[in-house]
Structures are given as structure tokens and as C-alpha cells.
């Protein structure tokens, strides 16, 4: 008997949701413990007894019994007993959405919403999350404990927000999924392809969960899924030979055609309705890239205009930088683009891609000295070995006679 790969991880959110619904939001910890115990017992029992006919129900019953055991002495049990003795949820019943909204409660900081959602709903382990957010495991575990305490203090309820609160709360959930995806993106580029792809896929799966319910099946959810699918379609081409491969040099034959097709499908659905979210614009930019036959033949003016719209909706120095780079790629005077990027130095002082951009632009206006210096600054701020390797290669290309830079 074989289980689907990651069946436990995918089941985790559903089981935890079913438990929190019955135990109440304030027993989130107990629900987590019970879910974990149920999987542990499955690992012991199923090899001997076989996989039960209804694994979901089996897991629920074991987890529920465990929770009841733990609560047996509490007076509280009297109050919840009628709900706990109800039959297991029918197959296909799904409380993950409520769980997601609870984990993305406004009482929590954004970073804790992301971590808690990935732990509770997506079933990722603390070590995986610590690796994803570049913090020690103990720190991450502490954050999760504090986040759950805050949920209790804030009286977070296990329910979908009402119609009035829903748009803002859904926005927070989408931001959380987008952050999970971008964290995956960075890991992917840093050579951690396994965890990187996992985060992107979990964000995708949770987004699909939002589409499965009429209350949350909004156009901006489709837009977010388009961003993730179109962006992650390029993952296989982004790292090669131990170095990060920039878009201009990627082998477009390595892009995942199935993901691109699915992403374009979501982009079309995102266009139905009057909503215009940042995800719509980001998805539009991604689509321009994936549809272009080559870097040179990319529709740069369209990309620049999408960045202009993005700046209206959500101005940020990173968006300004990317807009400038799109203008550069589209053949704009390098000196003019350089003048646009220079003022971003202060806001993005520690951001390696800014210095890489400055280096490209200095080289384009013929200032090899300034270019070399900027590459070295980029190298010093790079967060991963593949990124550093790609910057070293740039320096070598700039000045093949020069002494190689020492490994950072």
C-alpha cells in the first residue's frame, strides 16, 4: 500500500482545521498536538494493520480521542462534549480555509502570519520554516508559541470574517501566500531548490483552497495564482552550474510549459470583474516575460507601463528599480536609467540587486571602474552562493586580466 507523496502534509491542515472547529480556537495548541499524535500513531499502526479504508476519518478519530483524553478532567469538556461526539467530518469536508484566516489574524505581525500558516495549514516542519526564513529553529519555535498566545489574547475566532471584513482579511491572506512564495523564490535562487519549490507549491495549494469556496473565489486570487505559476515556471532555468542565471541568459526551453499554460488560464480568469490588485499587475508582467520568444523580443514598453501602474497602486523602491531595469532592457539611454536608479541607493543600500543594476549601468555608459566597484558591493551584500558566483562571473567578464576576487 503506497500513500501519495506528501499525503500527511496535505492532510495536516484539513485535520487541524476539523479539530480546531470542534475544540474551539483557544485550544489551538491541543489540536496541533492531537493532529501530530494521530499521524504518529498512523505511522505505527498502518504498517501492521494496513491503511484503513477511510484514512481521514481514522486520523480524526484518533486525534479526537487523544484530545478528549487530555481534557477528560477539565470541566470545559462538559461544554464541548456534544460537538466532539459528532461523527467524523465527511470526506471532502474542509476547514482549512477558516484555519488559514485564523492564522492570518490581524493581531499577528505579517511574518508570524506567514510562519503560522505554513506550519498549521500547509504542514511544514519547524526546521523547514527556520531554513526558509533564515532564523534559528529555536527562534522560529518561540515566535510560533508567541503568535498562538496572541491569537488567544485577541480572541481570534475559528470562522470566516463577515462580508464587511472579508476583503481586507482576504488581502492579508493573499499577502501571506505571496510572501511564502517569494521566500521560496529566494531559496530557489540561493540553491535551496527543494525548500524553495515546496514553499511555492504550498502557496499555490492554499490559493487553490481559496478558489474552492465561493466567499473567497475572487479575481485577485486567480491573479496571485497566475503570479506564482508563471514565476515558478522559470525556476528550472534560474540556477545553473552553481550560479544564478539572469533572465537574459536563461534557457527558455527549460521553462515549465504546463505551469505557464495554467498561469495564463488564471490570468484570464483574474480579468473577469472590476478588481485590479497588485497581483493583477505582477501577473501581467510575468506573462509578458513568459510569452516573449527571447529577452530582446520582450514587450518592454508594456512591462514599463505595468510597472507604472504598480507604482500608482503600491509604490516601493524595489518596483522603481525593476521599472528602470525594464527601461534599460528596452533600449533606453543607460545614462538616463542610471540617473533614475542612483536616488534609490539610500533606500536599498543593502539590496544586492540594486548594486548589480548600478554595475550593469555603469558598464553600459563605459565606466568600468565604477562598474567593478558596484559588483564588489553587490557581492558583499549577496545572500547566497549562486548569487555571489554570478556576480564574480560578471567581474571576470568585465576585466579578464584582473586578479580573481577572493571567495566571499
Amino acid at each position: 500500500m503506497k500513500l501519495e507523496p506528501h499525503a500527511f502534509r496535505h492532510e495536516h491542515g484539513r485535520l487541524l482545521g476539523a479539530l480546531v472547529r470542534r475544540l474551539g480556537a483557544r485550544h489551538f495548541d491541543l489540536a496541533e498536538e492531537a493532529a501530530s499524535e494521530a499521524f504518529a500513531r498512523a505511522a505505527r499502526a498502518w504498517p501492521l494493520d494496513g491503511v484503513p479504508e477511510r484514512p481521514q476519518a481514522w486520523l480524526f478519530v484518533v486525534a479526537r480521542n487523544y484530545a478528549v483524553d487530555q481534557l477528560r478532567r477539565a470541566a470545559w469538556l462538559q461544554e464541548r462534549l456534544p460537538e466532539l461526539v459528532q461523527p467524523p467530518p465527511v470526506d471532502g469536508g474542509d476547514d482549512r480555509l477558516e484555519l488559514t484566516f485564523m492564522c492570518c489574524h490581524p493581531a499577528l505581525q505579517r511574518r508570524d502570519q506567514v510562519a503560522l500558516t505554513l506550519k498549521a495549514v500547509a504542514g511544514l516542519g519547524t526546521p523547514q520554516l527556520a531554513a526558509a526564513f533564515l532564523v534559528p529553529e529555536a527562534t522560529l519555535a518561540q515566535r510560533l508559541v508567541r503568535a498562538k498566545r496572541r491569537l488567544l489574547e485577541a480572541g481570534a475566532e475559528f470562522e470566516l470574517p463577515d462580508a464587511e471584513a472579508l476583503p481586507a482579511r482576504l488581502g492579508a491572506v493573499l499577502d501571506v501566500l505571496y510572501l511564502a512564495y517569494t521566500a521560496g523564490h529566494q531559496l530557489q535562487d540561493g540553491g535551496e531548490q527543494g525548500v524553495g519549490a515546496t514553499l511555492a507549491d504550498e502557496a499555490l495549494r492554499l490559493g487553490e483552497g481559496l478558489l474552492a469556496r465561493p466567499e473567497t473565489a475572487r479575481p485577485q486570487v486567480h491573479a496571485l495564482l497566475a503570479v506564482i505559476l508563471l514565476g515558478s515556471a522559470r525556476f528550472p532555468a534560474r540556477v545553473g552550474g552553481g550560479a544564478f542565471v539572469p533572465l537574459a541568459e536563461q534557457d527558455r526551453g527549460l521553462w515549465d510549459r504546463e505551469r505557464i499554460a495554467a498561469g495564463l488560464g488564471h490570468l484570464e480568469l483574474a480579468g473577469r470583474g472590476d478588481d485590479l490588485s497588485t497581483f493583477h499587475l505582477l501577473a501581467g508582467i510575468e506573462a509578458c516575460h513568459t510569452l516573449a520568444p527571447s529577452f530582446a523580443a520582450t514587450d518592454w514598453p508594456r512591462i514599463v507601463s505595468l510597472y507604472d501602474d504598480l507604482l500608482q497602486l503600491a509604490p516601493s523602491p524595489v518596483v522603481r528599480l525593476n521599472r528602470a531595469l525594464a527601461r534599460h532592457a528596452g533600449g533606453e539611454e543607460p545614462a538616463a536609467v542610471l540617473a533614475e536608479v542612483e536616488p534609490l541607493r539610500e533606500a536599498l543600500a543593502d539590496y544586492a540587486p540594486l548594486h548589480a543594476a548600478l554595475a550593469e549601468l555603469h558598464a553600459a555608459v563605459g565606466d568600468a571602474g565604477a562598474a567593478r566597484q558596484a559588483w564588489e558591493t553587490a557581492l558583499a551584500h549577496a545572500g547566497s552562493e549562486p548569487e555571489r558566483e554570478s556576480y564574480r562571473a560578471r567581474v571576470r567578464a568585465l576585466d579578464p586580466e584582473a586578479t580573481p576576487l577572493p571567495p566571499a
Binding site: L3, R9, A40, A43, P47, L48, G123, G125, Q128
Partner: protein, 114 residues
């Protein structure tokens, strides 16, 4: 041939720190191991043990009960295997997936007088 019992002990709570992916990987190792024991014709049986239960002991002549989850190590299950001698049984027990995630395994002859 003699029967040996493989008793698995878990540090209380060790499982809780595993992610669902890791728990599933463990399940798959148990599947493979049990399958192998069956193929080799040495598998006699086994059962998981739940953690709810009671410990009965005599205190001042009175039998009292209490949950035994107070202890740090919990018996989580057992297998019975068949092997010619303790050495051969040890070789089999070494493959027990419990050992791959920090549990300890105790190997005891069944019914031997020693």
C-alpha cells in the same frame, strides 16, 4: 528457532517535533521494514501501543492506579520476530525504523528461561 520481542520506546513528545512529511517518511520506512520481515519469513506479529492507559502499583499494600505518561519514556509498540539466536535477532532489530528517529529498542527472548 526462537521468538524475540522488539520493544520500542519513545522519548515522550519526540514525535510531536516531527513534521507531517517526516512522519510519513517514517511510516514508509515501517511499511518497508515489515514487508521485508514478512518476505524473510521472520515476522510473527506486532502491535502499536496507545499512550492512554494505567499503571497499577502497590503502595503500602493498596493497589493504586495512575497514568503512566508521567514517565519520560513511553512504550509505543512491539514486534515479535523469529530468529535462530540472539545475534541473528539483533541483526534484524538493528533495521527497526524506530532507531532512525531517536527511539530506543529493547530486544527480549520470548519464553526463554535464560
Amino acid at each position: 528457532m526462537a521468538e524475540y520481542m522488539i520493544l520500542m520506546r519513545e522519548n515522550d513528545g519526540a514525535w510531536g517535533s516531527l513534521s507531517p512529511d517526516e512522519q510519513q517518511a517514517l511510516l514508509e520506512r515501517y511499511f518497508a521494514w515489515v514487508e521485508q520481515l514478512k518476505q524473510d519469513g521472520v515476522f510473527c506479529g506486532g502491535k502499536p501501543l496507545g499512550s492512554g492507559g494505567r499503571l497499577l502499583r502497590a503502595v503500602d499494600g493498596e493497589v493504586v492506579d495512575g497514568p503512566f505518561t508521567e514517565t519520560k519514556e513511553v512504550l509505543t509498540g512491539y514486534f515479535v520476530i523469529e530468529a535462530p539466536d540472539l545475534e541473528a535477532a539483533t541483526a534484524i532489530a538493528r533495521g527497526c525504523p524506530a532507531l532512525s528517529h531517536g527511539e530506543s529498542v529493547e530486544l527480549r527472548p520470548v519464553g526463554h528461561t535464560g
